[in-house]
Symmetry: C3
Subunit: 445 residues, 3 copies
């Protein structure tokens, strides 16, 4: 079967990438200067201070880069014939979104303070904005073209910047690990996009959508990389000292309890007492999602353990029962199960932060605690509602034919986007399972 | 062939995991408070001090997490059809053992000082306890069920805590990198378990026990990850300053000399001048095992190089000659060759520490040096003898049928523990080599 | 087909490795002492200073180790049947070259200052010397024996040490990220070796030289690991403080712009609007090569973005047009395309550093800037000319038959150097494509 003409991709994708990079270059040339830490300070004490801040932040930053580029990339490569595309789309989206967020957050700073400064801190904020795009993309992975994903990124980043500004700066929501601002926002934005993009077509299982043991192994390695570096993600923007120490400890405990609970629940739910690789890949990370919003508070180690266990339980129950239900009732497609990994544990974490605000004595009980609890609830509502709404608008826009959605038989197929060696390029007939494909095909992943 | 009923796994494993997590939660809720670094300090100087200590320890901690979760996991995935299980069992054992060690070490601290404190330092000590379980499991990898491994972990951790307390606190043995307390202890514990568990049945090579080039590549990558981060493991608990610097340098030199020697010896020993992947995966790490016990002493760079070379030599000779001999004479099964990687180089390192105590002028020659040499020898004897004995007791207990040992034809087989896609689930007939298996089977890793 | 007798490898390689390790041991025993940071300081302030320097350098050092051992190793494993060899040769070369550089740089220091000191800084310098060998080896990967590669390493390291001393110490060239001293030097040395070694034989595409989607995925992961840690490589030797901060920011911007440009250009150039995995693996790193020489200067963020984009453009154009041209006109073999990744972006970076010296007001315009521009140009000329010349001499020496060059049909074949399981050992007939090979062969990677 011949591949369809990809003229629109061939023109539109390079054109928009080129235009994007050119506009960005112009913006940087006109508006961006170094921040105080990268401009030359005039005295040794300043140099010392800058060096100290750099050395205390840079290792965290590198950990986060490994998570996003390597860990998440490998996790997304769980589809046996879509590894190269998943890794590449993730990498491209990260770069475009982070640069785009640098511009927008720079402009916001310019509006407020008169200049756009550049430093490692602004890089981290921009990475965080990019994370939302990477998470949302998980809902539509494999059934969307790079053009569609890029269009989504260009729309989602400004919404995130506005939402984060509203939630954190205006409402004063406490959310050091981005549970509300990043995970919940990104999840419901992605689900909104998926719903509006795919409409009411009942989701079917594509023959190429099933992982093999080999692709599952790679994805599990990716999940473990994310698991290892998760504390850096939660704690990078914490106040150095005891606050940051507490955030790291709570995240470690939540992740560890989540890992044990995941194995426990997966064996209980699966027939014959076997584990599911998908449960492991997601459930072991759920604790990290939930703990983010309370990690730096005095919630006690036991609470961190309990929250981690509960999140993993919720995540796996979501995979087992909620995802099929949503697919059946709402025709909702969620290819990587982002609702189970980011949505449910995120909401659980947000609820925990409300409870923590109400009961924690040290964090201002009485009037202060009650007020903070209201703000946390308001933040949850804004993130959830706003993202779902804007996500559906963006999803409707992604139906434009010029964005070159992949034809159904070529979904989840590297050959559509990559020049592969001969004998591998032509995918099997649509609908045929990989079992019946010629040998050369099977070898391709 | 139908899989055997796994009712005992289905009931026992989740039950024990659930019970374990519940007891642990209770303990944390009742007994654990933050340590001085995670509780809120009252003045800026304290905050500064806490921040400094955190930033100087956390990167080391993350390196060790990468080693244990990603590096060791990949190294253990050298069996082509057992990658998912090896990675998952390693991950589960790490989490259960570390939490269990947190409790036990917390109780020990409570006995001595009245409170159980929690901080990054206690996390590192708990990780070290967990390492012993991961090493010991290497002796019985593939022929044990998760229930058996969990039971082993629950028994091994208290023995380790007691042994480490006796060797380091009571005997005053110097062992910054855990050569005696971790590597030797874990190795002989694992061998004891293996001997008592498998009895006098002559070890046979299982048809699924042979690595493929692809699984060897993954395992080699895992070994290289361990190689890269090994200096962090050795130096994390060193006194900051020159001592830590020296420990890092010595470890780097020993590992580098070991890598060169490994290639040299492997080519000399193998027929036709070819390398063995197993030699590379283990020999290049042996230097790191041996150097741990003397890394922070003034042993001179040349001694570090020599120790690294000797360890790798010993390790490869062990693989080539000792392992077959032990299998033949003692019917001893050691699936990952932990005796060659942890036992022999560990003993070599311990001997080196005795020599170093005798000859080093700066570390107290004369009476002091002689006394320390005796303590080092006593530590070696305690670690070796105690672990072998308790390991055999634990191994005998693991023969309980309710722990669901895998039936011989399903050893080294992911399909026993993982829900795999159709056509892959059913393993080939027992005894048949993978060469004759249907195509779908071969593809599964 | 029987493998050829490898007697020379069997004798020569272990012999030379053993001799090398023995000589090195002797040198260390006689000449090397700790540097000021690893010898015992006498007062707490010194300890504090040493600890601070160690904690600010060690995370960078570990990042670089991951790049060289894991990232580069995986990138070189893009050939489906040569993964184990590529990874192992890279690892062996790194260790031999770094030890050899420690000796030579130690002797140079001894000549100038009377002693040979050892510390983390000297380890980093030695690693940098080893990087040149790893890059140069990319030009002849798969068609050279370990003996030949070792001989090359032993020759290249002294030339690098001399060249680096001349360029940086004598000419005062500014090159914080090693663009001129490492990348340009290594590239043209490797091309010189390749030209002299393979002579005027027209390069043909070997049937085993084509990557599969699976090996491409592994190589892409390796490239992404390099991409993530590249800022550490560029900034490790920077002055702590604002200079280092700037170097990190510029490298991040250049790499990010390069990633976007790579996708853009690859889609434009490839037929049907598809991506090439080779373009991605190399183009996304080109920005890091070019930025090294100007990363710590006040070049402005926009210039970093522009330089990153331009480098990637140049790199991909090189793959598409220059490599075939050089192969046709000069019969030049460059198996990994090091000229496109290291040569072209390196020269671009060097030119940028000349321009920066001419125009940058803060870095001494007028007479000072002009003079520095001349030095940068002189450095470029020395690195390029010197490496090409010495590389050709070394390449001619590598034609010695005793260095056991692999026979053409066994090039790019792990079975030549590794003991593989039965049924995999015998490679297919020369010239036959892998498509026609028996099943067991195909499975081997």
């Amino acid at each position: 079967m011949a591949l369809p003409p990809l003229s629109s991709t061939r023109c539109l994708l390079p054109l928009s990438l080129g235009l994007f990079q050119a506009v960005l270059l112009l913006f940087f040339a006109l508006c961006v200067t170094y921040d105080e830490h990268s401009a030359s300070p005039t005295n040794p004490e300043d140099t010392e201070r800058v060096a100290k801040q750099l050395h205390s932040t840079f290792p965290f930053f590198q950990d986060i880069q490994v998570m996003l580029v390597v860990g998440l990339g490998m996790l997304l490569a769980f589809l046996p014939r879509y590894g190269l595309s998943a890794l590449t789309h993730n990498f491209l989206l990260l770069n475009v979104s982070a640069q785009w967020a640098l511009v927008l957050q720079g402009l916001l700073h310019r509006l407020q303070h008169g200049t756009t400064l550049l430093g490692l801190r602004s890089m981290i904020s921009a990475e965080f904005a990019a994370v939302t795009v990477l998470i949302s993309a998980g809902a539509v992975l494999g059934r969307t073209s790079p053009c569609q994903l890029l269009a989504m990124a260009l729309c989602e980043v400004p919404v995130y910047v506005a939402s984060e500004w509203l939630i954190v700066t205006k409402l004063g929501v406490l959310d050091v690990g981005g549970t509300i601002t990043i995970h919940i926002f990104a999840c419901y934005f992605g689900l909104g996009v998926s719903k509006a993009l795919f409409g009411n077509a009942k989701p079917t299982v594509h023959p190429k959508e099933t992982p093999t043991p080999r692709s599952d192994l790679l994805a599990l390695l990716g999940a473990l990389i994310l698991w290892v570096f998760w504390p850096s993600f939660v704690a990078v923007l914490c106040q150095p000292g005891d606050t940051q120490h507490r955030a790291i400890l709570h995240t470690l405990l939540a992740l560890s309890a989540g890992a044990v609970t995941t194995v426990l629940i997966s064996i209980l739910l699966e027939s014959n007492g076997k584990l599911s690789a998908a449960h492991l890949q997601n459930g072991s990370l759920a604790g990290g999602v939930a703990i983010g919003v309370v990690a730096d508070l005095h919630i006690s180690p036991a609470a961190a353990l309990a929250l981690g266990s509960l999140s993993s339980l919720l995540c796996i129950l979501g995979f087992q029962f909620l995802t099929p239900l949503l697919a059946k009732k709402l025709a909702l497609q969620d290819h990587c199960g982002i609702h189970n990994l980011h949505g449910l544990p995120g909401v659980l974490g947000a609820v925990a932060s409300i409870v923590a605000a109400l009961v924690a004595p040290g964090d201002g009980s009485g009037a202060g605690g009650h007020r903070q609890a209201w703000w946390q609830a308001a933040g949850l509502a804004v993130a959830l509602g706003g993202s779902l709404l804007t996500g559906m608008l963006v999803g409707a826009a992604l139906r434009l034919p010029c964005l070159a959605p992949p034809p159904e038989p070529l979904c989840f197929e590297d050959a559509l986007y990559f020049k592969l060696k001969e004998g591998v390029e032509n995918p099997p007939m649509p609908g045929s399972s990989t079992e019946g494909a010629p040998l050369a095909m099977k070898e391709c992943v």
